[in-house]
């Protein structure tokens, strides 16, 4: 019941915010997202820390095909819900500073997207899951195309077609599993127990993988990302990078590894190597990027490459680490893109070479920036370290050499982040930088909690780990059981 409520609250919010006018629509949207967060917190508080599916709801929907409205939450979903519903109030608040948007439409679209995202993370029926998957895409398409930079139409269209193409492959995959399993059901249990032949699994694996590789993105399916992040409005970039790409990572855990375990085992080497290329290559390119948002986009390619690689290591450390890191990456990247937006709105530029001296003019801003930055650089006692450590350790278990190459991310990450910080915040600064002044209370209301989360989750991450560890263990059991050919 509560799970369905989590889909309904943002839908209702979208409706109401869409009908209101001007700033009050923003207020209403934030209000709904806070209610959503409170409900989520309530669920986390009452969540039994075991592997069972909780708060579930199951109704027949299109009974002739066995399609159900089947939603519920396990330890993996709950982390994703926390990620989505924790970040949304911040993202909505952050959009408050945007001047050139039609607020009611924007907030309605954003909340509609939240409903789609939550739906993806709680759906336990593959068909329902697919509907939410596509539902989440439509609002972000409009947000990007309506309020992006001048050249955003072409870029947005490319993003849309590219991801839609991937989704269609996935749809074909879902239908194939449904038919091959022959149980007249799309439920997650049916899918997990389908145990198809290795040949079928190969085909289905690649059909699903196409959708996820584009969404995450995994090298070489990433080229939509830098331009999309750069041209999208701030809120759009935060939604994309903070939450939406985690749809793909989450789906690997829920719909790919347990359904096509044999194929996943066979292909894991190849996929991990692709991820590895993304980790090093993304970071390496980020070193010489001078547009802040493009830089963060390539850095994101590097970070999510590590998360995906950890998932394909298919061990406790890798998968547990991927969940922690999805949460941490979401928090950090939203913080970083928000910072980029503050800089842009105050100085009118995102080019790091044109900035400098911000610390001199805005020490609080620079301090908060630094905390979030070191979270991203994975300094111990920040959230980034916990996830990155577990992921690297998971990869180390998988193969020592892969961990060595993936580990270079801690060096390259330090290079591009500190270089960027020096150009943007340190030094005397001139020109554009002189336009910058200390951030307002509203900005601090967003940056301080984010910085606090960076540190708190770095010092005491155990409650988060406890939420998901039983479900991850069960997932690993399912994978290993399914990886033995019937």
């Amino acid at each position: 019941m509560l799970t369905a409520l989590l889909i309904l609250i943002p839908l209702a919010g979208a409706l109401i915010a869409g009908l209101m006018k001007g700033k009050s629509s923003g207020f209403m949207a934030v209000l709904f997202s806070v209610i959503q967060l409170i409900v989520t917190a309530y669920m986390i508080f009452h969540f039994q820390k075991d592997a069972s599916i909780q708060f579930s709801m199951r109704h027949s929907w299109i009974s002739s095909l066995g399609i159900e409205f089947y939603v519920g939450v396990d330890g993996i979903s709950i982390i994703m819900l926390l990620l989505t519903n924790l970040l949304f109030p911040f993202i909505l608040l952050a959009s408050n500073r945007q001047e050139n948007i039609q607020r009611p439409a924007f907030y309605a679209l954003a909340l509609l997207m939240q409903a789609g995202l939550v739906g993806v993370f709680v759906s336990l029926d593959a068909f329902l899951y697919y509907i939410f998957w596509e539902l989440a895409l439509i609002p972000i398409f409009f947000i990007m195309i309506l309020w992006g930079q001048k050249n955003s139409q072409r870029i947005t269209l490319k993003f849309f077609i590219y991801t839609l193409l991937g989704s269609l492959f996935m749809l074909a995959g879902i239908i194939l599993v449904y038919m091959k399993a022959g149980q007249q059901s799309f439920s997650v249990e049916t899918f997990h127990n389908s145990r198809l032949s290795p040949d079928d699994q190969q085909l289905i694996f690649w059909l699903f993988f196409a959708a996820y590789a584009i969404k995450i993105p995994i090298f070489p399916f990433h080229t939509w990302q830098p331009s999309a992040y750069t041209s999208a409005p701030a809120a759009g970039t935060m939604l994309l990078s903070g939450i939406m790409l985690k749809m793909g990572l989450y789906s690997l855990l829920r719909w790919l590894l347990p359904v096509t375990s044999i194929a996943a085992m066979q292909n894991s080497n190849l996929i991990i190597i692709l991820c590895l290329v993304g980790i090093v290559y993304g970071g390496w390119i980020a070193v010489n990027q001078y547009n802040l948002k493009t830089l963060f986009a390539y850095s994101s390619l590097s970070h999510v490459g590590l998360i995906a690689a950890g998932i394909f290591a298919m061990n406790m450390q890798g998968i547990q680490g991927s969940l922690i890191q999805m949460l941490s990456h979401g928090i950090n990247v939203v913080g970083l893109f928000y910072i980029a937006d503050i800089i842009y709105s105050q100085t009118g530029t995102l080019m790091v070479k044109e900035l400098g001296g911000l610390r001199l003019r805005a020490p609080h801003f620079a301090g908060l920036f630094m905390i979030i930055l070191f979270g991203s650089v994975a300094l111990p006692l920040t959230n980034g370290f916990i996830g990155e450590f577990m992921l690297l350790f998971g990869l180390f278990d998988y193969n020592h050499w892969i961990a060595l190459f993936a580990g270079t991310t801690i060096i390259i990450g330090a290079i591009y982040m500190l270089k960027m910080y020096q150009h943007v915040a340190l030094g005397e600064g001139s020109g554009f930088a002189s336009l910058f002044s200390e951030v307002t209370k509203n900005d601090k209301m967003i940056l301080i909690p984010i910085a606090a989360m960076v540190i708190i989750a770095g010092i005491y991450p155990l409650p988060l780990i406890e939420l998901s560890e039983a479900s991850v263990a069960k997932l690993l059991e399912t994978i290993s059981a399914n990886s033995i050919a019937k």
Binding site: K158, I161, Y162, P220, H222, T223, W224, P226, Y281, W284, I285, V287, N288, Q289, N315, M316, Q317, Q320, G321, G357, R359, L360, F374, L379, P380, L381, I386, F389, M390, L392, F393, G394, F396, D397, H400, A403, L404, G407, T408, I410, I411, A414, I415, L418, K419, Q422, L426, G427, E428, Y460, P461, L462, I465, E469, A473
Partner: protein, 635 residues
């Protein structure tokens, strides 16, 4: 005391939080007092805990606070270990740390970022204490990277200057290269032992070692971490640049404490190293090469802090030499005495720079002894201590290392002596040029020459006393079997490893006296040579541009920075552009766009198919049915 040791690191952390969050509402005077008081309380607690350990019945103990994080069977506790090694380190960190805090109150008094400076110092001490108190390799790693962060923040303390910012960044990145080695070493330790807790690993190590190929790999990986943090070849170039930070930072972080973390880590893991003789050889070679290489650069530097920086690199090399021959106590002894005399020398140089109005070039100093009497005497004591004349601290610790080298191989002893003579020469060159002769600065500078305030000279005096007498805790065996207190105190740490060490015969007392006499005589001669050159002949170092031949190579530090830049930094940046423009935009994205264009093209082509001619549609339909039937039949 046992239940209070968590306060030792937490107090400096609280100091940091208070000063940072207090912001402008905390006046300078209060910030200085808060920061110093926090360290002082930690020092008192450390002394209390240490005094308990002097009881013969003292047993090392571990205190667990909470589980930090876990994944499957991998679980990491937030726990502290109190044993002889960590307790002595606590004394050094909080003791020297406190003195440097007090000194900073005077030194940084007029800086607009005073509060920020004091808070960073507190944060540094917090991480350094975590590093030495942690009961497993991951708590060590928190401290390890944390002190790296503080080093970054403090090197770039004057962040308006982009050269300083660059030096800060360089330090952080070079350290991270080493940190990756350390991290992989920790992974491998867990793979091998199923734990990363010191107690469990060291207990298991002797029985596992026999059949393990991994131990040499583990120890090398950990050592790579030490190379980065302790500025050894080839990752040392960040340390001389780190002198961009305010001088108290150089004293505390880049001389006395942080850079010795690598030495501490190897001593902590001594059993693993004892069991990996090949790694020990590597350490010996790296240490020896660094000691001599850095000392030779020190000969031709004219920046007072740069001389001390290369000297630090070189002295750290000596500690690794000791580690390389398995003389862990000697390494620790040198770590301890070096903390005293190098902190003293840096603070002394700070006092000089303070008096000279920011001038750091010794070619523009000279004759300062009459203007800065306290600084002069204390600096002289530090110089004698590092040069290795008895009975000052550096003599005993260096002598112990040299004796260990001799008993291993007389050739090693000679190399060690060469390094120590170079040290004596460049240190006395520095001393003579700075304090003797006539003043070579501007009149304006001469007019303003003054001894530093009490808050600065008092720490100098305390450190000078420690540098003078600190060596007596480790007297050589020739003074009696039990003369060496340090050996006795630290011995529980090395019990497990002792059985694996081939006990070569002790040097005879006659040999040991002989070695000591030889080294003292050689050092004395070297000092006289330096005196002859720089006082009697009044020779001055030439301008940078007129250096010739090998001297120029030395003055330019063997061009290592230039080589690194050409071999690593430039190609790295160039490849970044190649990847971006050539590969990412042109090829990968090109293919994506091309397939998009192809789809459009196909669309145009098939549009012609939809011609509206019914006949054509029927034809296609029949063709389709036939194909389907055929496929069905064939499969």
């Amino acid at each position: 005391m046992t239940d209070l040791i968590w306060l030792i690191p937490v107090l400096p952390l609280l100091g940091f939080c208070l000063i940072t969050l207090g912001g402008k509402s905390i006046p300078r005077s209060a910030a200085g007092i808060i920061a110093s008081a926090a360290i002082f309380c930690s020092f008192i607690l450390s002394v209390g805990t240490f005094s308990q350990s002097l009881d013969p019945s003292f047993q090392a103990y571990t205190v667990k606070y909470f589980t930090w994080f876990r994944a499957g069977d991998f679980s990491i506790d937030f726990s502290f270990l109190a044993d002889q090694l960590s307790l002595l380190m606590l004394l050094i960190v909080t003791g020297v740390g406190f003195l440097i805090h007090v000194y900073s109150i005077g030194y940084m008094h007029d800086d607009e970022g005073f509060n920020r400076f004091m808070s960073y110092l507190n944060l540094f001490v917090f991480f350094m204490l975590l590093l030495v108190m942690g009961a497993n390799y991951l708590i060590l790693f928190i401290g390890w990277e944390g002190v790296g962060l503080c080093s970054y923040l403090l090197i770039g303390f004057w962040y308006k200057n982009n050269d300083y910012n660059y030096a800060a960044r360089k330090a952080f990145v070079m350290n991270r290269i080493g940190d990756l080695g350390l991290l992989l070493g920790i992974f491998l330790l867990f793979n091998e032992f199923g734990s990363i807790n010191y107690n469990e690993i060291f207990a298991m190590a002797p029985s596992r070692a026999a059949g393990s190929d991994l131990l040499p790999v583990i120890t090398i990986l950990l050592f790579i971490g030490a190379i980065g943090k302790s500025a050894q070849l080839p990752l040392y170039t960040w340390l001389p640049d780190a002198m961009a930070g305010p001088t108290p930072v150089s004293a505390l972080i880049h001389a006395a404490t942080m850079v010795t973390a690598g030495v501490y880590m190897v001593i902590r893991s001594n059993i693993l190293y004892t069991l990996s003789p090949d790694t020990q050889t590597v350490i010996l070679i790296v240490g020896m090469a660094t000691a001599i290489f850095a000392a030779s650069i020190g000969l031709k530097q004219n920046d007072i802090k740069k001389v001390l920086a290369y000297s630090t690199v070189s002295q750290l090399g000596y500690m690794f030499i000791a580690l390389g021959v398995g003389a862990y106590t000697a390494a620790f002894f040198h770590l301890l005495t070096h903390a005293f005399f190098k902190a003293l020398l840096f603070l002394g140089s700070g006092s000089v720079i303070h008096a000279m109005g920011g001038e750091q070039d010794i070619r523009r100093m000279g004759g300062l002894k009459k203007y800065l009497p306290v600084t002069h005497i204390t600096f002289l004591i530090g110089t004698i201590a590092i040069a290795g004349l008895p009975p000052f601290a550096g003599f005993f610790s260096k002598d112990e290392i040299l004796a260990e080298l001799f008993s291993k191989n007389p050739l090693l002893w000679i190399l060690g002596i060469v390094g120590s003579l170079l040290t004596a020469f460049y240190m006395f060159r520095l001393y003579f040029l700075t304090f003797h002769g006539s003043f070579r600065g501007t009149e304006d500078q001469q007019h303003h020459l003054h001894e530093s305030p009490k808050s600065m000279t008092t720490p100098l005096i305390v450190l000078a006393v420690l540098s003078a007498i600190g060596g007596f805790i480790g007297l050589p065996v020739v003074f009696g079997e039990n003369a060496n207190w340090l050996h006795h105190y630290l011995s529980p740490l090395f019990v497990a490893g002792d059985q694996f060490v081939e006990h070569h015969a002790h040097l005879s007392h006659a040999t040991e006296w002989g070695l000591m006499a030889a080294s003292v005589a050689l050092v004395a001669v070297t000092i006289l040579i330096a005196r002859n050159i720089y006082i009697q002949k009044k020779k001055l170092p030439v301008d940078d541009v007129s250096e010739k031949g090998f001297e120029r190579v030395l003055a330019r530090k063997y061009y290592v920075d230039e080589i690194y830049d050409a071999v690593f930094a430039k190609p790295f940046m160039m490849l970044s552009n190649v990847f971006h423009y050539l590969f990412d935009v042109l090829i990968v994205d090109g293919i994506v766009n091309l397939s998009g264009a192809a789809a459009m093209g196909l669309g145009k082509m098939f549009r012609k198919v939809q011609s509206g001619s019914i006949g054509f549609y029927v034809f296609m339909m029949v063709l389709g049915v036939i194909i389907m039937l055929a496929v069905n039949y064939l499969i």
